[in-house]
């Protein structure tokens, strides 16, 4: 259960039951209706936009209706107001590709499953989504299958809600494919398998049309033979579209007759479905681009690349495809001759080649999007480019650039309230608003409070089963100075008391460890003995 659920109440009170029902039917519906105003000390609407000092954001029915200086924007009388004079408002981060948040990702090699969707595997109460809020990620494309040939369809979600439908932002986000050798296979067989998927599709469609033609021709001849009048009952179908190849006569086939296992691939070839292709080595990039181009979905393709793929930057730039950089932003490789380690900072290469790219959280909460962006700035990437790589660039990749990635009128009200600069390591995500819904408040975040040795919430147990000392309870997090002062006091007290207190505790621990060791060695001896015994028996 997410602790943040309780905070919904305040805003959700205005929601009508009719709208609540509608929410489950359409993923495009806003998370919250009603109104919300956010007053922030600073508003950064987009990475390269000028900062608005003392600004206001008004969100109505989930969409931003006004952004501007406090004096210029009129706050509706009935809107609840979040007043954060010290905070910086920033658009929510967008994760373009994540394999987390699922009950069980399907990563079996050798499978071709374009007809399955992660919808059936996403776990709304997964800890990951809770963590996303803490790091300010408000839009996530859940997409798995780096180890498959053609994996399932992904979906874009927001990290709130107790059901998939409540979380859904866009279904599907695209089909996942892998150009990288899957487990136990080599590069040529992977490329072969990927190409075969589409040559099989083509042959299947050809056969479908041929069978239809053969069949209908026969029935016509039968009618002629029997002297019946011919009834031209033309089957409904649609001519195939496709940038690379089409199958003539597909209009004869009612689209419902196309095997549902092949249907998503057909959508791909017709340019109606985005594709995400995983590339682990630079050679894979060439395979991915070739397969996408030969089958007409290059314009809808995003490459999910490993850092080593920077070598293929020219090929990526020529193909004009965006990329999601997965994992490290640095590529390390020993020089084949000297053995000396060569370090390449990949986002800089992508930036210089003008390749649109998104950063990703490396499937780890410890290296979340803001951290990756900060690393990029540290390595010399322009600040705006680094921030774009976690906001507007992934939004564009997901086809949601009209909804997320910046704080503009008409876009989703996904607002982070940060305690400082978005890229500073000392900055906290204080509050998160998703589509006008106040979904996260750090001062009420049980886990964070606990991890920091802070306030012990009522009726919760500490990790060791004991209640924390109420005298050590810290401030509520809103007053930074008081908090710092309190921590300082605590440390001093600890330093002072270390002389007497620490020793007995250590000794106690030591005793226990010794005891364990003894047990271990005893066990070990026994095992040895048994081994000897067995050996003896064998001899």
């Amino acid at each position: 259960m997410k602790p943040t659920q309780t905070t919904y109440v305040r805003v959700a009170a205005l929601r009508t039951s009719v709208a609540a029902a509608a929410l489950f039917l359409c993923s495009d519906a806003a998370l919250a209706d009603g109104k919300l105003a956010i007053k922030a000390g600073k508003i950064v609407t987009a990475p390269n936009a000028p900062v608005i000092e003392k600004g206001v954001i008004v969100i109505e029915n989930g969409r931003i209706t006004a952004v501007g200086k406090e004096k210029d924007v009129k706050i509706p009388w009935d809107a609840p107001v979040i007043d954060a004079p010290k905070a910086t408002a920033f658009p929510g981060y967008v994760e373009a590709h994540s394999a987390r948040g699922m009950d069980r990702p399907n990563e079996s090699p050798d499978i071709i499953i374009p007809f399955l969707t992660v919808r059936d595997s996403i776990d709304p109460v997964n800890f990951y989504f809770e963590d996303c809020l803490r790091s300010g990620i408000t839009t996530i494309n859940v997409q798995q299958g780096n180890d498959c040939i053609v994996a399932a369809q992904g979906m874009v979600v927001r990290p709130v809600g107790l059901t998939i439908d409540e979380m859904a932002v866009k279904i599907p986000s695209g089909i996942k494919m892998s150009a990288a050798a899957r487990r136990g296979a080599s590069a040529p067989t992977q490329a072969q398998a990927l190409r075969r998927v589409f040559s099989d599709l083509r042959r299947y469609l050809d056969q479908l049309v041929q069978d239809k033609k053969d069949g209908s021709d026969r029935s016509r001849r039968e009618a002629l033979y029997q002297g019946r009048d011919l009834e031209g009952d033309k089957a409904k179908g649609r001519a195939m579209e496709g940038a690379a190849w089409t199958v003539k006569g597909l209009e004869l086939i009612p689209r419902g007759e196309v095997d549902e296992k092949q249907e998503p691939l057909l959508a791909l070839v017709e340019g109606k479905m985005p594709a995400f292709v995983w590339c682990a080595r630079p050679a894979d990039v060439h395979v991915a681009i070739e397969v996408a181009r030969d089958n007409g979905f290059l314009a809808k393709t995003t490459l999910v690349i490993d850092a080593s793929c920077w070598k293929a930057a020219d090929a990526i730039a020529a193909a004009k495809v965006p990329v999601v950089l997965q994992g490290s932003v640095l590529h390390l490789e020993p020089d084949p001759l000297t053995g000396k380690e060569i370090e390449t900072f990949v986002p800089k290469v992508l930036h210089d080649k003008k390749i649109p790219f998104a950063l990703s959280s490396a499937n780890s909460s410890n290296q979340s999007l803001w951290y990756q962006a900060a690393l990029c700035v540290g390595h010399g990437l322009p600040r705006a480019a680094a921030l774009e790589a976690v906001t507007s660039a992934p939004a564009k990749i997901l086809g949601l650039d009209k909804r997320v990635g910046s704080l503009e009128v008409g876009k989703d009200g996904n607002v982070l309230l940060l305690s400082g600069d978005p890229l500073s390591v000392t900055t906290w995500v204080e509050r998160v608003v998703i589509e006008g819904k106040d979904v996260y408040d750090r001062s009420k975040d049980v886990r964070v409070q606990h991890l920091l040795g802070g306030k012990q919430p009522a009726n919760t147990a500490a990790m060791n089963g004991e209640m924390l000392d109420p005298s050590k309870v810290c401030c509520d997090g809103s007053d930074e100075k008081a908090h710092a002062k309190h921590l300082e006091e605590q440390r001093r007290a600890k330093d002072k008391g270390e002389g007497e207190d620490a020793k007995p505790a250590d000794k106690k621990d030591g005793d226990k460890k010794d005891g364990e060791k003894k047990d271990d060695s005893h066990d070990g001896h026994n095992h040895d003995g048994a081994g000897e015994h067995r050996e003896g028996a064998r001899q």
Binding site: S186, A187, P188, T189, R221, A283
Partner: protein, 552 residues
């Protein structure tokens, strides 16, 4: 021969653009077809390569009779060191092949597109600046030597060769004592994905181009180029039973592998190994049978497809006839039906429709991309390189060769090939030898093969090719050294040069691109300061695809 003032060797593949435009050169030029002057030097050519091209029109009645098919076209490619081949036939055959290419109906083209794997699109790269090479001695081909000639290179191709060819002003001219075509390593594993080596999932249609790392360190490539080797053939999986489709690539430091590729499907590889099956002789025999069975499978598929083609044609004709008959008789049929309905009504009986019957449409054999490749191999459209060392394996190979006459088999390794030299020569099976340096021990290579094997086979009339054996990615660098070892043990230098240039080019169907220094060929040249294969000779410069890639 050298008395000819200006000699322009006109290649079959020469395009109008590659013909020299300078009127002075053009006027003095005696345009000659390669075979026309061939008899002059045929006397020097050993018997082994004095005959027609293997697997070509003269390879047997079966191939010769398949008019318009690929084998004819392929067999007719500029045939390196086969000067005795029927000269008169060649231009004609070439015309036929051209006509075949141009005169194809749309349907044929479509079929071809579906049947053959699509060649990878190569993005056009800017060609290097024009170059000229002034050679004291030029090996146009191993059996054709010119002295004091200039080779002009434009757009990556050889534009002119002749004694009075002058480099246009501003064109850089290189000097060399001896110039030959770039060496081709017929058996390499350079830049190959290590995971692909023993991947048992590799099937006949796996392509080596996918297994090569396009971003291999350019310094490795330069290292190999310094030895004079400009191109190499790799096989997808050199250690598995079926190694997939091979590719011929270049050691071009400035280009990605597929950009400089000479062929993306030059061969099918099979590997017979006594390591499999262990000590059990029957197991080993079964394994050999299974591997060579691939050719039989391809042949069977080819038959199935042909059978289907005929059945389908017969069925279509029958149906068309039937259709016409029914269309003509429709009015009567309608009347009959109305009459029958009326009769039935009168009599109060049930009206029964006549039952319509027709033959079922024949079913096409199930498409299988692997069997498509095997079929091409069995039909001789694709050479089959079979690695075999022991006498038992080679005997099995020879049996296959007798059974499937169209297949163009190449024996690779062949440590014990000496015992079959006569048969190999008779069946025109080229042998791709890898004179193993110490340390890269291949079963039986030294005990029964040894360094003199190449010379012995050559003596017996077997066409010998040399390769580095692919034991190591960088082994290609030592290929010229291995060749000089073979020369030291009796192989003639001319045969050694052929074994590294014209022969691999012809066997792997890239003779229209590389292997000789003729007009229209892509410019892969090695500039020596002495005779090749001599220990004291140094490679001074190397030109690869028209680009100067190694410079002293």
């Amino acid at each position: 021969m050298l008395a000819i003032a200006s000699l322009l060797v006109c290649g079959f593949a020469a395009e109008p653009a590659s013909v020299p435009v300078s009127p002075a050169i053009g006027a003095a030029a005696a345009f000659l077809n390669a075979p026309a002057f061939a008899p002059a030097c045929s006397a020097e050519v050993p018997a082994f390569d004095g005959d027609g091209s293997f697997g070509g029109p003269s390879a047997g009645p079966i191939v010769g009779s398949s008019a318009g098919q690929d084998p004819v076209e392929k067999g007719d490619k500029p045939a390196g060191d086969e000067p005795k081949a029927k000269e008169g036939d060649k231009p004609k055959a070439k015309d036929a092949a051209d006509k075949d290419k141009n005169g194809k109906s749309k349907d044929d083209e479509k079929d071809e597109k579906e049947d053959k794997p699509k060649p990878k699109p190569t993005p056009p790269k800017p060609k290097g600046p024009p170059l000229a090479v002034r050679a004291d001695k030029l090996y146009v081909r191993p059996d054709r030597v010119l002295e004091g000639v200039t080779v002009l290179i434009e757009d990556g191709r050889i534009a002119a060769v002749g004694t009075d060819v002058k480099a246009p002003e501003g064109v850089r001219t290189l000097q060399a004592k001896v110039v030959t075509a770039g060496f081709i390593d017929g058996w390499s594993s350079f830049a190959l994905d290590p995971a692909a080596f023993g991947d048992e999932r590799i099937s006949p249609s796996s392509t080596a181009l996918d297994a090569v790392d396009p971003y291999v360190d350019a310094r490795w490539e330069r290292e190999v180029l310094r030895g004079g080797v400009t191109a190499y053939r790799v096989q997808t999986a050199p250690r598995t039973r079926i190694g997939g489709l091979g590719a011929v690539l270049r050691f071009h430091p400035g280009k990605l592998a597929h950009e400089s590729a000479l062929s993306s499907d030059c061969s099918l590889a099979l590997t017979l190994s006594s390591a499999r099956g262990g000590d059990d002789v029957f197991e080993r025999a079964a394994d050999t049978e299974r591997v060579l069975g691939a050719i039989a499978d391809g042949w069977a598929y080819l038959q199935e497809k042909n059978e289907y083609k005929h059945e389908l044609a017969a069925w279509e004709k029958a149906i068309a006839d039937k259709q016409k008959e029914l269309d003509d008789g429709f009015k009567k049929a309608k009347k009959d039906r109305e009459k029958a309905q009326a009769d039935a009504k009168d009599k109060g009986t049930e009206f029964k429709e006549k039952e319509y019957k027709e033959d079922k449409k024949p079913k096409a054999p199930r498409y299988d991309e692997d069997r498509e490749v095997l079929a091409r191999a069995a039909n001789g459209e694709l050479p089959v390189v079979v690695e075999a060392h022991s006498a038992v394996q080679i005997r099995a190979l020879l049996e296959s060769a007798r059974k499937f006459k169209r297949a163009r088999l190449v024996l690779a390794g062949g440590a014990e090939a000496r015992r079959f030299a006569k048969e190999l020569a008779e069946l025109r099976i080229p042998v791709l030898l890898a004179p193993q340096p110490m340390g890269f021990y291949v079963e039986g290579a030294i005990s029964s093969g040894g360094l003199g094997l190449a010379a012995e086979l050559e003596e017996a009339g077997v066409e010998v090719l040399l390769g580095s054996g692919g034991a190591d990615g960088l082994a290609s660098r030592d290929l010229p050294l291995l060749a000089s070892l073979a020369v030291g043990h009796g192989l003639s230098p001319k045969a050694a040069l052929a074994a590294l240039t014209t022969r691999p080019a012809r066997v792997f169907d890239i003779a229209d691109k590389v292997g000789s220094v003729e007009i229209g060929r892509e410019a892969d040249l090695v500039l020596f300061d002495g005779e090749p294969f001599a220990a004291a000779t140094k490679v001074k410069s190397v030109i690869c695809g028209g680009d100067l890639v190694v410079e002293e």
